[in-house]
């Protein structure tokens, strides 16, 4: 069938089963929006900023594993979207982002709203395309969805010149993709898997190092089975939260800069590290020369470049985690004796007794950690939790009782302030059955505050909980610890009235200064199903602890800070 490039885009969305597109129109992409107007197969959500459109698509993708989709126009529309692409790229999130471009005839002439979009997105996408003719559009659209969601997932960007969206060509949507240059290895090497299984059975102090790859590959159930069968303790990275239930006795908590003492000690003293889909980020490893010094390392990852990038690996296994675990678990089960690790588990238990994750609650002022625990008690598994970036993000990762994979949506690799609210809108769209909560900071929330309008208009009831410390808290904390309290530009005492701000956009605002007020506000917001802004005034001097100072060693944590 013949159709225009714009019609092809819409048709491809239908064929790919897309039910939501987040976006923002403009000159170069108007043909696509004109076709979008004529259809009713999927919903378009008009965010109020292109960055938010991409973050919302990310929230949708992170909550479901499906490909998130965003449309933006050329020039500033595209450049606004770049932070979203980079955020998704760092966390391996499957997205297809389509931007308009000036007509091919004008490319290279510094035309109005022309920017070298693929030149910019090259370094923050898994792959990108500048479409040269409508003829190649069906193949490119098909490839984009395939590339985004296969292998190590990631964002794919398609830049379509305006004349291509108007051009007529035959639409023959491919049923499958055959790229001779792209064949991700999914089956792990069986001999290597066998050797790894033997190493596990003969280790004395093994530890599971669980990473985001588990969530992407949908192998949390298998990991739970693995951990349960072996009774080997496990640490989770920020991106892996929710892999194990919070009350799993083998879970040592989060690892890394703000990880628990027992998790970081387990990494430091282990004789075998079973790394399932992590990427040895510097926020996890600390000083590399001291990292896991006594451990042999098994590393399973679908991306070969991830293996051996930072640390030498003894048992490298390239493959899809799910397929690898399906082979590895039975092999380990045959020989493993969980009792063998009892002395090791006892040691770790002692560590936790000496230095548990803790905070000092107060009746005078609300502690931010209390708010997170309280939401955990009141909503628990009924909520999907997004965050912005800063102290509140780390406290959420530490204190929220996560129960299932994809319950935690956060910008890990890029650490993008402004991510939380639009992401939580995407979450709500993808999981209408859940309460979508965004823990945010008084700094971060203002970086995409305009989305109040989107959320209200599009009926995406997100509950924003501002842990308001009147600071760019995380930066302030570093200034307290490492810069002799010179609080350069981190004091946010001057603030908007968040309650009235919410109301001005049609949402509901609550200002909270006591625990009772918080309970009432949260209950009210959940019951009414409104877009909410709960401004919780918390202790502004609270620090995220424990902490491995940047470049420090995991076994040398700062457990307390005394003035």
């Amino acid at each position: 069938m013949e159709m225009t490039g714009a019609q092809m885009v819409i048709e491809a969305m239908k064929l790919e089963g897309v039910d939501t597109v987040f976006g923002y129109p403009g000159g170069a992409i108007m043909n696509v929006y004109d076709e979008l107007y004529k259809q009713s197969d999927f919903r378009h959500i008009l965010t109020r900023h292109e960055q938010a459109a991409v973050h919302a698509a990310e929230g949708y993708a992170r909550a479901t594993g499906k490909v998130g989709v965003a449309f933006v126009t050329s020039g500033p529309g595209f450049t606004n979207a770049v932070t979203g692409l980079a955020t998704a790229y760092m966390d391996s999130i499957p997205l297809v982002v389509i931007s308009g471009q000036v007509p091919i005839t004008l490319i290279g002439t510094d035309a109005f709203q022309e920017i070298d979009a693929t030149g910019i997105s090259r370094s923050c996408t898994k792959h990108n395309y500048l479409v040269r003719s409508a003829k190649e559009l069906p193949r490119i659209l098909k490839e984009a969805f395939y590339l985004a969601s296969s292998g190590r997932p990631g964002p794919v960007h398609i830049d379509i010149p305006k004349d291509v969206t108007a051009e007529l060509a035959k639409f023959d949507y491919p049923t499958h993709v055959d790229l001779p240059t792209y064949r991700p290895t999914t089956k792990g090497n069986v001999r290597q898997i066998k050797k790894a299984a033997e190493a596990i059975c003969s280790a004395k102090r093994p530890v599971f190092y669980l990473g985001g790859g588990i969530i992407h590959s949908g192998s949390a159930d298998l990991v739970r089975e693995f951990v349960n069968a072996t009774q080997i303790p496990a640490v989770e990275t920020l991106m892996a939260r929710g892999t194990l239930r919070h009350d799993d006795p083998m879970l040592l908590g989060m690892v890394g800069m703000h990880g628990t003492y027992q998790a970081n000690m387990a990494m430091s003293e282990a004789d075998l590290m079973i790394a399932l889909g992590p990427r040895f980020d510097d926020r996890v490893t600390g000083k590399l020369s001291e990292f896991a010094k006594h451990a042999k390392i098994i590393h399973v990852d679908i991306d070969p470049s991830s293996i051996g990038k930072l640390v030498d690996v003894d048992y490298p296994i390239v493959g899809d985690l799910k397929e690898v675990l399906e082979v590895m678990i039975p092999k380990v089960k045959e020989h493993v004796d969980p009792d063998r690790y009892q002395p090791w588990r006892d040691i770790l238990k002692r560590y936790n007794e000496i230095h548990p994750l803790k905070y000092e609650d107060s009746e005078k002022v609300i502690k931010p950690q209390w708010v997170i625990e309280r939401v955990g008690e009141l909503l628990g598994e009924d909520a999907v939790i997004s965050t912005d970036v800063g102290q509140h993000q780390m406290w959420t990762a530490q204190f929220y009782p996560f129960s299932f994979p994809r319950q935690f949506v956060t910008s890990g690799g890029l650490g993008t302030m402004g991510f939380g609210f639009p992401a939580a809108m995407g979450v709500k769209r993808a999981r209408p059955d859940k309460v979508s909560v965004n823990f945010t900071g008084d700094g971060s929330i203002l970086m995409n505050i305009q989305e109040l309008v989107t959320a209200v208009e599009s009926r995406l009831p997100v509950i924003n909980i501002i842990l308001n410390n009147h600071y760019l808290g995380m930066v302030r904390q570093w200034q307290t610890f490492f810069y002799e309290k010179r609080y350069a530009e981190t004091d946010l005492s001057f603030q908007p009235d968040f309650v009235r701000l919410a109301e001005a956009c049609g949402g509901v605002g609550y200002r909270v200064e006591t625990k009772d007020e918080f309970d009432e506000a949260l209950k009210d917001a959940v019951e009414k199903g409104v877009v909410a802004m709960i401004d919780v005034i918390v202790d502004r001097n609270e620090n995220v602890l424990p902490m491995v100072p940047s470049g420090g060693t995991l076994y040398n944590m700062m457990l307390e800070f005394k003035d």
Binding site: T118, G119, R122, S123, K126, H127, Y129, L130, R132, L147, L179, P180, T181, Y182, D303, P304, S305, G308, K309
Partner: protein, 157 residues
């Protein structure tokens, strides 16, 4: 870790900005490109790049893996047993001894490529080390211009 010189050949799909992807990768990750040669492979929709680079074992391993990871990359060849050649053109003033220059070029598998009223242009293709030696030896004829091509390489077997 010891820094070593490596020759890597990459076979890629000929498509929009594929060269930018590769040079961008080297730039973004701080890898070295000493020389780079590119040309289409006859009767195919692929091109072959030969990259001469330097780095320690871990860096070289990452370069190879990162090159593989690019979607249009078909094959990455890490050369071990290879024949390498490099080409150099040099321009000399006409008043230098033509026969001496010719003799030197012949010693390095080359010859005179052109003689005009003003200049002699020579062309030599040989192993990179021998090309270096040639350039050194040719200094006494006061070259006015030197153009080196990048390395190309082929597995011995």
């Amino acid at each position: 870790m010891k820094v070593e010189r490596r020759i890597i050949s990459v076979v890629v799909q000929n498509e929009h900005s594929v060269l930018a992807r590769i040079t961008g990768l080297f730039a973004a990750r701080g890898y070295n490109i000493e020389t780079l040669t590119v040309a289409p492979i006859p009767d195919s929709d692929m091109s072959r790049l030969t990259i001469e680079t330097r780095g320690n074992v871990r860096v070289i391993e990452q370069i190879i893996k990162q090159l593989h990871k690019l979607i249009p990359t078909f094959k990455v060849i890490e050369h071990e047993e290879m024949i390498e050649k490099e080409m150099v053109m040099m321009k000399f003033p006409i008043n230098e001894s033509l026969s001496n220059i010719q003799a030197l070029c012949e010693a390095y598998n080359g010859g005179i490529a052109n003689v005009s009223s003003q200049h002699i242009i020579t062309m030599v293709a040989d192993e990179p080390k021998r090309v270096r030696h040639f350039i050194e030896a040719a200094q006494r004829f006061h070259p006015v211009e030197i153009v080196r091509g990048g390395v190309v390489a082929m597995e011995r077997e």
